[in-house]
Subunit: 593 residues, 2 copies
């Protein structure tokens, strides 16, 4: 309901029972996450707000809709504490269709992939789209864009001056994903955003993978409230002892729960109080097959967390971490009516979903129809880039023929690349990729018409045997990333994206093998989740056919430009040594024949 004095008066009257509720949920058993109690209670809802919990008989009028919850438990709607929904390649509308039936009714997001391709104008269009879906987005303004050191190219640069404006917006609930290095190295825009947030009473969300000891202390002195990325449970424990809220990430590519949750199950059960969950990056197929936050709750229970504590991690703990517990996270009078009907706290199967006071999903299916909005030119997927030639993917060196010792970025996890020294052949002044040694070429091409940047380097771990693959969906810059063992195929892959308005493509032997268009900003699609899930599987199979045996070859590729995790990455300005916070020359030594 719109925030006006008159509406507030109406809600108060509804709470007092002076006007009937629009809906009541009857016969259920309340999972009270505020008090850790479970007891029978009915719920009265007026508009989008819970107005009474307990005996609601006096709230029932002739027009009041009754929702039968007999035999069910009532849990608060789940909160995904940190998610780039864009990485699912689903638009907000498509994403809501996928996750709301799983019980996720709120998410905390930077919407940063939209911003990197379409700036604040595109963001406002996404805010409008959000109003039409039963999934609340608590937006954190990116601490800066791009997130990279050295600075890469995106469509819009988020600065401290931008923060001064956007932190006033009602959609803004904090500062998004403040990467450790930008704090500990004293980046002016980052610290400016933090100071602005302090002034505006907004929390600063962190991103400090592997930060411990003095780097963590320095980071915390910057005023960071929480983190969502710890690689070990010891890291979780240290961060929490030093006062942080911790989100455990269980994404489609990084399964951290089993390890991280040991902080609670093995070290100290009291830590549960400030632990919550996030999925960060998920694929449509994963959500459709396993579920979403509901699955994370189930995993935590399976790992030995008390069901009540696990449900709190999925609801109120996140709400408190983000200071949105006055709106969501519990079934209490005055909160938004996001209520799940679940089979039991132990098995936690979501059977119906009430969001913003409306029954929107039942038996894992949306009841409410969701239609994507018309897309303006702002969120179009035009890639502002001239066509490439095969030579653009030739790594040229100062010798004509011989050997090159090169540093190949060897993939060790979706975000982790380590050094691998390899010796490659040089022919006609070009260092050649090597299928036998598993060394491919990788290139990132700026695609916003800002400077035409292109980088080129070497990578390993994909086991690509032929062809190339490319994506214009590539967090966090969403420049074009292309990987391949054949320069002509790489060029064709990139050109296909440029000519077809973005997406993901696989090429071999001069032919397009498969292509998924991503017409919204070149990063997401308005297709149904089922369609994207099927196409994802097909793309992965096509990549497998080219030799790739990683679990998510395209996803592992499109994370290559992320510079926040050691040791190596690549952006449009070049291959990056993450520890040195600088670009590096992958050619270690040249020996002429």
């Amino acid at each position: 309901m719109e925030k006006t004095i008159e509406n507030l008066k109406t809600l108060v009257r509804a709470g007092k029972g002076e006007i009937p509720a629009h809906r009541v949920v009857l016969g259920g058993t309340l999972i009270n996450v505020m008090t850790s109690e479970v007891y029978p209670a009915d719920v009265a809802i007026y508009g989008d707000t819970i107005v009474a919990v307990g005996d609601v008989s006096m709230h029932i009028g002739p027009e009041t809709e009754k929702i039968d919850a007999t035999g069910k438990y009532l849990a608060p709607g789940l909160i995904d504490g940190h998610i780039h929904s864009e990485c699912s390649k689903l638009s907000i509308t498509g994403y809501a269709k996928a996750v709301v039936p799983c019980g996720t009714t709120s998410m905390v997001s930077g919407l940063d992939e939209y911003i990197s391709v379409s700036g604040l104008e595109g963001l406002r269009e996404v805010f409008e789209e959000i109003k039409g879906v039963p999934l609340k987005v608590f937006w954190g303004a990116p601490y800066r864009t791009p997130y990279t050191v050295p600075q890469s190219t995106v469509a819009f640069n988020f600065t401290k001056e931008v923060h001064a404006e956007v932190q006033q917006w009602p959609e803004c609930f904090g500062v998004w994903e403040t990467v450790r290095e930008f704090v500990t190295e004293g980046d002016d825009d980052t610290l400016g955003a933090i100071l602005q947030a302090d002034k505006n009473r907004l929390p600063v969300f962190g991103c400090a993978p592997m930060a411990q000891g003095k780097q963590l202390d320095g980071y915390l002195c910057g005023g960071i409230r929480l983190d969502h990325e710890s690689y070990t449970h010891e890291e979780v424990v240290e961060k929490m002892r030093k006062g942080m809220h911790m989100l455990i990430r269980e994404s489609s590519v990084t399964h951290f729960l089993a390890e991280n949750i040991r902080a609670v199950t093995e070290v100290n059960p009291y830590l549960a109080r400030r632990v919550s969950f996030c999925t960060d990056d998920v694929t449509a197929s994963d959500v459709l097959s396993k579920g979403h936050l509901d699955n994370v709750v189930r995993l935590a229970i399976a790992a030995g967390v008390e069901p009540m504590a696990a449900i709190q991690m999925g609801t109120i703990n996140s709400a408190e971490a983000y200071r949105i517990d006055h709106m969501v996270g519990s079934i209490s009078p005055g909160r938004i009516a996001d209520i799940l009907l679940v089979d039991s706290p132990e098995s936690f199967r979501v059977q119906a979903v009430i969001s913003d006071g409306e029954l929107v999903a039942r038996d894992k299916k949306m009841i409410r129809q969701l239609t994507p909005p018309p897309r303006s030119a702002v969120l179009s997927s035009e890639l502002k880039r001239t066509l490439t030639r095969p030579e653009d993917f030739h790594y040229r060196v100062g010798i004509q023929k011989g050997k090159a010792k090169v540093l190949s970025m060897d993939v060790k996890g979706p975000f982790v690349r380590q050094r691998r020294d390899v010796e490659l052949r040089v022919e006609n002044g070009v260092v050649l990729p090597d299928i036998d040694q598993d060394v491919a070429m990788v290139s990132v091409l700026e695609r916003f018409g800002r400077n035409g940047n292109q980088s080129l380097a070497f990578c390993s771990g994909w086991h690509l045997k032929k062809g190339a693959m490319a994506s214009s969906c590539a967090p966090d810059d969403n420049d074009i990333v292309v990987m391949g063992v054949d320069a002509a195929d790489m060029s064709l892959a990139v050109n296909h994206l440029i000519q077809n308005g973005g997406g993901q493509v696989l090429v071999a032997d001069g032919k397009i093998i498969d292509f998924l268009p991503l017409p919204v900003g070149g990063i997401v699609s308005d297709e149904e989740p089922e369609v994207i899930a099927r196409r994802e599987t097909e793309l992965n199979k096509a990549a497998n056919a080219l030799g790739c045996d990683l679990p998510e070859p395209l996803m592992y590729m499109f994370f290559l430009p992320i510079t926040s995790i050691p040791d190596y990455a690549i952006t449009d300005v070049g291959p990056v040594d993450v520890q040195a916070l600088d670009t590096f020359d992958p050619i270690l030594e040249l020996v002429e024949d």
Copy 2:
């Protein structure tokens, strides 16, 4: 430290150990309220900020001051979650001298008594004074002033338009003490203040004594976050089940802990998570003899609360309730360095106090000298009121001689007055007080030169045998309250206050028995706490000598104008029926002789 990018960079560097700490606390055992763990840990402090906890050897430089905590436990500075320090009759400087040695380093306050007598101009002067004391004040802007229905007279009316301005101030951390009736009856200023707070991400603090059931539901639909006033533990439990944070009040006149804490010790230990403490109104003598928040922590432990949970109630729980846990409430890097050295978690004797990074008190004595600031005319104690005559305290009725059946407000507790019907004599057209029946006259006189209002009514319970007593310190309006059994003495008492610039006075047989000047705004004094404590005792003894046998006769009197608690009160506009939210006529029946 001032919030600038350069200072933030410096703090981050100090956290990383690149520049030495100003102070380190060595050899202590940390009470980690974030994780409920107790373990040895040192602390490094830079300026007013904790920059490292654990091994701080690399933070020690040649200039670093070392504080020895060997054999001691380190607890976070205590937070008083709801306090009108003015009611102690101590100025901010005097109050800090009293409570800081007890370990209270933060308080949440509306400073509303200052506002009622001196408006925003006086408030700004108090903010300046606060900068000079080692006691942080997290100010909540009063939801409106006056708090009364019907509206009484104060020097400054806080409206929703004022909220639009002051909620932008860095000193403002929420909306103060939003009384239930103003929400449930839909007061525009109150709801306007709440909406403004929602926009500014500020929490709304409540005041809902005895609110349960539908009134509570309606109140919560107004968006109230917490409450500090429950009369029973069942009330505590209901409020918490409905999603509120609860502060348990243990003031000098209302000892609620023993009863309220049963919500935790008998009903549900998990509730401890969102329970914290406040003292609301304390006397100087009480603080000097028993302690302050430290005493409340000890009382909770004595009542059966685990020491760790009790300490959390006095620190982090309050900080979370008020959303100031990024600043205070725990000993964590990035938080303000408020650290107590205590003997043990179980006995919780505060032996030294570090506030804002500086050692300010040891062995219950201030080390740092505190000097009150010069007072401007804004906070002067001029009572803007012409002198009274004895006739002003004659209750005139329409008969010359006979009997009057009147409603006397019978005191049942410091804030609770109930109906008592008594028959009084009427002579010469005046209803006479009656010592034998314990019926005194009570009058409230507006003192801000706004309208000259004066009310007059009857009260019981003080057992006043002769004379009168008056106070210009009288929350929340701080108009003049006078009670007496002799009209001439009442007039003399009021006139003495007017002629001497406010305070508290006792009169008998036409003579001033005792007088405590309160030269700051007519409500507080810059005298030392010890002086005020002694003078309080003397005033109470003098009141005892007049027959008063209540524990705090003057305090019970000066709470008479508070209209937020049933059943009766009196303000300058007349005696008030709190349930009816209207003035009432105390004359029930007249019988002419």
